[in-house]
Amino acid sequence: MEFFRSPNVDWLGWKWYFLAFSLIFSVAGVTSMVWHWEHPVGGLRSPVPLGVDFRGGTQVEVQFPGPPDITRIRQATVAAGIRDANIVNYSVPGRYEVLISLPEEHQESSLDLGRQQIESALSAQFGSAFDPRRDIRNVAVVGPTVGRQLEKQAGLATLYSMAGMLVYLWFRFQLIYGVAAVVACFHDTLITVGFFALTGQEISLTVIAAILTLVGYSMNDTIVVFDRIRENLRLNRKETLPDVVNRSINQTLSRTVLTSGLTFLTVLSLYLFGGRVLHGFSFALVVGILIGTYSSIAIASPMLVAWQQWRVSRGKTAPLPAAKRARV
């Protein structure tokens, strides 16, 4: 069985459409981020909705035997003097769950207060039907210090990761290959994070893990194409660069689509069956793998050509370096 038998597509002829497509998604994502920035939740400015890991505060997940009565839960929290409680119903038939979140507690000495308040409020409202030890499934109380530390670390980790990629590709290919791959990778990250902003999903620690994984994984397809470009440049020095790039993309198209497709299938299985805890994580991977595959064809490779054309226009006719001799 074969999906693609010797395809012959002029990928570079599509570059303006690709650019438009990427721009639409990037601009939509950035616009949404600006909107989130302008509408801070609980006095906390951020371009994306932040999960409790970063935002700080208290989050209690409670299960109910039947469909939960949100009004009663709200009454209970108000009666207990809890202001600004955010109550979200996550119930699906057969499992009834409610997530109660409180904004960041500024007094770290009373870190635990929110949880105790929620517990006693629910006990007062539902009496013996509510047993904290049985029905509270998950509690996260994060002080402001930890949240800020994590935020800083997540940003640093993403930057280091991209820098690592740049250095590795520089070492294995040439600087321009590294730059093109990292730009494509940044494009993937931006659009993936943009999707979180657009859909209003919260960024948690595991989402950051998914994004870092994407930084590494979206390189894979790009490397496969670059490897082939380099090989073809060495084999045939007469062909023009756009032709080489087109031919390389076509030659590797089958494996690019298959490798991403297979990883996508496993990630999709994770998204569908992996449960709510991993929802954000698998969502990031689902979006990121699609965008990552697209960008290795539509962003990274055209960038190589654009760079060479720019150099030619400046009067430097040196062709794209075929990079160091591969140790084949």
């Binding site: 949880r115 997540a154 980790a157 990761s161 299938l265």
Partner: protein, 537 residues
């Protein structure tokens, strides 16, 4: 050639056996339950899968620095007094606990004071001043501050560890957390009812006995007035609930010596008990050294009052009846719980500084069980979909890829068993991703083989070329993913670290299975083929 192949197959079987042992150990039987038990013994489940509490505390290290300089202030005073030198040692600002000042030194004695301070403290302190205003400033060297901070965090970890052990929690984790921010991480598997545990963990329980200068007074002003309008730096005002002495509910104020006669680390043991009047008390024993000091003090001060302070509040005030050496009892306004906790705390030693809670996560056991079920379902579905796809798309070679994939999973899980790594929910996600990314290597190789076959090469040449060309690409793609996983491991915490670990192990194992094992299977197959026959791909 054939002999070489046999050796390679033997190696693969050996690896398979070793890593299956890594997963299960030697199970007690081959029934499902026995295997499951053997599995959970080898591979530890993270807190997010088995339920439990995850706590992060900030160690307030400045308190330890403060204690250290307090002792030095007392020492300097003693030294000045012994040498008949003028000057007063004090701490100018509570916000900078590392700074000590010696003020009011007469110009004539400035050089003697300087040489005394220089002699004794220049190793740990920077000495400045000594000019016309008669003031010397000692600032603790940053290196020494850091030493104290590190020591304090280590002591806090040991103490918290002792306290956790006294609770009988199995397999707790207590370790330094973060990147040098003096934080500690406490993980208690299986604990979801936190209230009592937490008060036990972070209670400073700085039990101290101070000499009482005066009191009780009804207010701070009264206390100040009784002491002539101001409190000298070596004394302090403390409060305690009024009913200790007077039986009234209002607060009482005492003036006590700032330096404790006996403090936290001087206690060797403590047990709850009942005194002859039926009141709850705590019986304590002091260390030998502290006992001598206490004997010295009590024998000189018979008839004077001592105050027992816990957590900075007066819990009991008693007159010294006679000299006490190394054991005594504290009768105070304690509840039964307090007596229990106090004695437990004294037995496990005092914390060198307070702990401030920063983060607190609890996962209920039911959520953990759900997560395991969902994670395993997603993994099984993922594996099946990928394996079936490979069989359909690559036919005979699909079997090859599927065998390599299974071996990849066995090695990954076996590795985790050997390393007693912790499997978290994101870790399961890492296993699932390994399946998807692992099979990528097979795709890269197979596609290249197909290409070579199309170019007209023979079966064995096509396989040969396919592996040779794909190898470099595979290394490149693995390096980039492992680099980002490594960065994730360095920066990540808890469950996310588990993800980085499984992904890295999985991809490393994949280099072996997708390249070496898959090649051996091809070679074995090619050997059996007639000349001119094609591989099924």
């Amino acid at each position: 050639m054939k002999k070489d192949l046999k050796k390679k197959i033997a190696l693969i079987v050996a690896v398979l056996v070793i890593f299956i042992y890594g997963i299960f150990g030697i199970p007690s039987g081959l029934s499902g339950d026995a295997l499951k038990e053997a599995l959970t013994k080898r591979i530890h489940l993270g807190l997010d899968l088995q339920g439990g509490a995850h706590l992060i505390y900030q160690v307030v290290v400045s308190e330890a620095v403060n204690d250290e300089t307090n002792n030095v202030v007392a020492e300097i005073r003693q030294n000045l007094k012994n040498a008949n030198l003028s000057g007063q040692a004090l701490k100018p600002d509570p916000k900078t606990p590392q700074v000590i000042q010696v003020t009011g030194v007469t110009p004539a004695q400035a050089s003697s004071v300087r040489s005394m301070l220089d002699d004794k403290y220049s190793n740990q302190y920077d000495l400045t001043g000594g000019g016309a205003d008669g003031t010397f400033t000692l600032t603790m060297k940053p290196v020494y501050v850091r030493t104290i901070e590190q020591r304090t965090v280590q002591q806090a970890i040991e103490t918290v560890g002792d306290r956790v052990n006294s609770l009988g929690v199995s397999e707790p984790t207590i370790q330094q957390y973060g990147l040098g921010d003096n934080q500690i991480l406490v993980e208690l598997p299986g604990i979801s009812d936190l209230d009592r545990v937490k008060s036990l963990l972070s209670e400073t329980a700085r039990l101290e006995i101070h000499a009482v200068v005066g009191g009780p007074y009804n207010s701070q002003q009264d206390a100040m007035q009784a002491q002539g309008g101001s409190i000298p730096p070596e004394e302090m005002i403390v409060t305690g609930s009024g009913n200790l002495v007077s039986g009234s509910e209002s607060e009482s104020y005492y003036v006590v010596q700032r330096l404790a006669v006996v403090s936290g680390t001087d206690f060797r043991s403590a047990d709850p008990g009942v005194d002859q009047n039926g009141r709850r008390d705590v019986r304590f024993t002091l260390t030998n050294e502290a006992g001598d000091k206490f004997y010295d003090y009590t024998s000189k001060n018979v008839g004077r009052a001592m105050a027992v302070l816990m957590g900075g509040r007066v819990r009991e005030v008693a007159n010294i009846q006679s000299a006490i050496r190394d054991s005594g009892e504290i009768v105070g306004s304690f509840t039964p719980d307090e007596v229990m906790i106090l004695s437990k705390l004294l037995r496990t030693g005092a914390l060198p500084a307070s702990l401030v809670p920063l983060e607190d996560r609890t996962v209920g056991a039911s959520l953990g069980a759900d997560s395991i079920r969902e994670g395993v379902t997603a993994a099984i579905v993922g594996v099946l979909v990928v394996m079936i796809f490979m069989l359909i798309y690559y036919r005979g070679s699909g079997i090859n890829a599927d065998l390599a994939l299974i071996l990849n999973l066995v090695i990954l899980l076996g590795f985790m068993g050997f390393a007693s790594a912790t499997l978290t929910l994101p870790g399961i996600a890492g296993v699932i991703l390994t399946i998807g990314m692992g099979v990528d290597s097979n795709v890269l190789i197979f596609e290249r083989i197909r290409e070579e076959i199309r170019a007209g090469k023979s079966a064995s040449a096509a396989v040969d070329q396919g592996f040779a060309h794909a190898w470099i690409t595979i290394v490149d793609t693995h390096v980039t993913t492992i680099v980002s996983a490594a960065i994730l491991f360095i920066f990540g915490t808890g469950p996310v670290k588990g993800f980085a670990v499984t992904l890295t192990f999985g991809l490393l194992a994949n280099l072996f299975t997708a390249v070496f094992v898959s090649r051996v299977i091809f070679d074995a197959h090619l050997n059996k083929m007639r000349t001119g026959q094609m591989v099924s791909i």
